[in-house]
Subunit: 517 residues, 2 copies
């Protein structure tokens, strides 16, 4: 923005402002407040707009679970509220998620006779997070998850009808929406928010956060009519946040540049299970306005995804039901290379270290027994799962050295027979049988980026914390854009609880913020 | 700084500048350039000084290995250079380190017949770093470490006389200074720098980085006559960096507030092996000027330190020679709790999870055999190591339940006899004997913070990278203040190589930077 102007060295601020009038990009700016630019140079101060195009008490960035929860609460607390969304459709990753909401002591748990407590959920989260979670935030999440799901049911009207289990939890506590998708909750929250008078604008992308001379966040610069991913599309506008901005822009699983800095292994060789807009520019814009980031290098990969289909796909459901029944093979050697029942991180790390996709396989006993017919059929249809009449045919297809492979399958089968894996200590389930009966089924596995645990530091009020080691006035955040709640590992089904609990806190507190002018 | 002024809402920039004249804190400021404040509020823009108190081409912050290497190279490239140091003495952590410089293919390795290569050192670093190291930077370090130590020997005149081994390295490659201390190199570099005409100022603390309207770093605000840790001491001054600032301010092992955000376990319950000034305010000031941080949550603890002595102390030398010979006991239960020969991180995590100090112990066979007499004597003198006539006396002193303890020692002794630990798979060394012969020796262990792997993102030129995802003009960095080179774990003896290699690169490139005005 001011890069052109900046070339004129030695300009005083006064001179800069005077000359700025002649530069198109800076037109409409006046003195007194600065904006900090994202991705357009370093912390570049830009004068605030002469005129704000719109004014709201609370400006929410992002229209997923956290953003909509914040918007509803802020509106109910008396604030005027706008929700902006850069994509052409609302809902972000939330609308494509599986709809599992972990909470302790829920109605579904009671109906199923599952004993659970906030304490137990907290302990599960801390253990999975390798105890580097922010304990205060994890506690708030666990303590408020039940009330949050009841708010979703009773106030929003979302339906949860089935109880699921996710690895790392001590009990079944994932309450699944009636359509096994986050869309049930997103769409009902959206209707509720609109009914309350919240404005929701798609194709509106935040470009910068605007801070005043105290460093208080006072509004944002946006592009309206933005057409993802065309960075030249859209028209600049300024939205004033009379009370606060709430950032709920999600994670950065699809931001290759940013994730490579944090975990250099995660090059373009890795896809993502996320929607394409899951990039980090809004998070970085907040950092440029003084917000502190934390634990950004903890990026979760799913080891069960396939390079032969897009996004999450069907192979995860094939793979995860087969581990403990069939072997995982490195096609370069024809041998097993890691414990099939290892956790997400261990398995993903092992595959990445090999540097190429591996194979998960089963036979005519294990596959029909374990894999949901629907997942198998869809995987076969899109070609990510393949069917073979013989081990020879399977080996030929994946270019596996046949002799070593046959020996390794015999070795695996001997472990299955004695129910003990001498090589990698894989759990072998009691009903597992040797992999001998054709047809054989196989799929290639290569990890995809699934969730970014790190993000902005927030306090118990969901207020963003700055590099100043103080709360950053005028800025709240919730959901995947924040960091520290899950520590090293975010457990399955906890993202929804995180978004609703902290989204609501952020919305309430944003509405209570003192107006700045 | 401008907080007071900020209270007057709605001031235009022009009005702000006018009124600023009347506010003491802003006196001396003029328009055109802003500084971003550290620890005094959020990214608060402050006008640049009317007048710079001093001007140098290159301003180096920190007087350890990296800072002095940068200063020497910048000076030799023709720049005028100042080194500022906030503490009353120069040298930071470098001057109290053990003087081990890891490099492949060194003179000492050749004399000892050790075969080594840059490739092997690179592989060791990546493996220890769990492969989240920035591979380009790790490669540069490994490739240039040998030339760097030869520069220290031949140009600086530092003496390295002994070859040591550190865990995680494939070969002996730690070249130890003649006095087993970093002071050998620090003092000789300091003399060299001064001889070349580099100014070195102690008690001078950087308060803010000053950036111009393009976001270029143009100088710093300092406190001269600063008396650590009195934040009210000292007088404000402005130092212009005509070409660049080089930040070599070290890690933040002693910064409780900052490390708690990154790894919430690391409360005030944890001491540090570092010098007291190892805090993060300079790193944070850089972030507030737009610099990006990375992997800040990887904070290395020494599991071998004692809460009964200050700093590094003598117990590490007692403990590390005893593992594999004597047991580590949880005094609360009287039982062992973890593999004594586990790595630093595993052991520290296990002790932290217990939540209280543990005991390492040996007897009259293992202790005199393994522990350097000097370390034992000093530990006994300061009371951190204790001597007991019987197991009963030992148990009584540490409040260990006697019966369980005695059983556990018998169990340990049975493992030592068969050279196989059935409980925790501790390595038991061939010459280990059962722990039976009084007197017994013991020390309490509680981890201390030793090294912060994370820090500012730099590129191959040691230029700092911004949240803009672009290099930040006018700012270079090297040493522990940077992040990503070591990934998850910094191996012993690699810090010196890191500081000299990247300090020299930073200094050369800072001197080559185009002057800004």
């Amino acid at each position: 923005m001011s890069d052109d102007v900046g070339q004129k060295k030695g300009l005083t601020r006064r001179g800069f402002l005077k000359s700025a009038g002649g530069v198109a990009a800076v037109a409409g700016m006046a003195a007194g407040v600065v904006a900090v630019g994202a991705r357009e140079g370093a912390a570049v101060p830009v004068a605030m707009p002469k005129k704000w195009d719109q004014t709201y008490d609370v400006v929410v960035i992002g229209s997923g679970f956290a953003g909509l929860a914040a918007a509803i609460e802020a509106k109910n607390a008396g604030a005027s509220v706008v929700v902006i969304e850069k994509m052409p459709v609302h809902g972000g990753n939330s609308i494509i998620n599986g709809g599992d909401f972990c909470a302790p002591g829920t109605r579904l748990q009671k109906a199923a006779g599952v004993e659970d407590s906030a304490d137990l959920m907290y302990k599960d989260m801390m253990k999975a997070g390798l105890y580097i979670n922010n304990p205060e935030l994890a506690r708030i999440l666990a303590d408020n998850a039940r009330e949050a799901i009841e708010w979703c049911e009773d106030y929003v009207g979302a339906k949860f009808t089935r109880l699921n289990f996710h690895g790392g939890h001590s009990v079944k506590r994932a309450n699944q929406t009636v359509n096994a998708s986050g869309s049930e909750l997103v769409n009902k929250m959206l209707a509720k928010a609109k009914g309350l008078g919240v404005e929701v604008r798609t194709r509106t992308k935040m470009e910068r956060m605007i801070t005043n001379k105290d460093g208080r966040v006072v509004g944002i610069e946006v592009k309206t009519g933005y057409r993802y991913p065309d960075e030249k599309s859209g028209k600049t506008a300024y939205i004033k946040a009379g009370k606060a901005v709430v950032l709920t822009s999600g994670g950065f699983s699809n931001d290759i540049a940013l994730r490579r800095i944090q975990d250099p292994r995660l090059t373009e060789k890795f896809g993502s299970t996320n929607q394409p807009g899951a990039t980090g520019e809004a998070l970085l814009a907040a950092c440029m306005a003084g917000a502190m980031d934390v634990q950004m290098d903890w990026i979760q990969l799913g080891p069960w995804t396939s390079p032969d289909e897009k996004g999450f796909g069907h192979v995860p459901l094939f793979c995860e039901r087969l581990v403990g029944y069939g072997p995982m093979i490195d096609p370069a050697t024809g041998k097993r290379f890691f414990k099939e029942t290892g956790n997400r991180k261990e398995r993903a790390d092992a595959i990445i270290l090999l540097g190429h996709p591996v194979i998960i396989m089963g036979d005519s006993y294990s596959v029909p027994k374990q894999v949901f017919p629907n997942a198998l059929e869809k995987g076969l249809q899109n070609g990510a799962v393949k069917k073979f009449d013989s081990l020879e045919a399977l080996a030929k297809n994946y270019n596996i050295p046949l002799e070593t492979f046959q020996k390794e399958i015999s070795r695996w089968n001997s472990f299955v027979e004695k129910k003990k894996d001498d090589d990698f200590a894989c759990m072998i389930f009691p009903d597992a049988k040797p992999t001998v009966a054709p047809p054989f089924y196989a799929a290639r596995l290569w990890p995809k980026v699934h969730h970014t645990m790190g993000g902005l530091v927030i306090d118990k009020n969901a207020q963003v914390f700055g590099f100043s080691l103080k709360p950053l006035k005028g800025l709240y955040a919730a959901g995947e854009v924040t960091g520290g709640i899950h520590g090293a590992v975010r457990l399955g089904g906890v993202a929804m609880a995180d978004c609703i609990v902290f989204g609501r806190i952020a919305g309430k507190n944003a509405a209570k913020e003192t107006a700045w002018g």
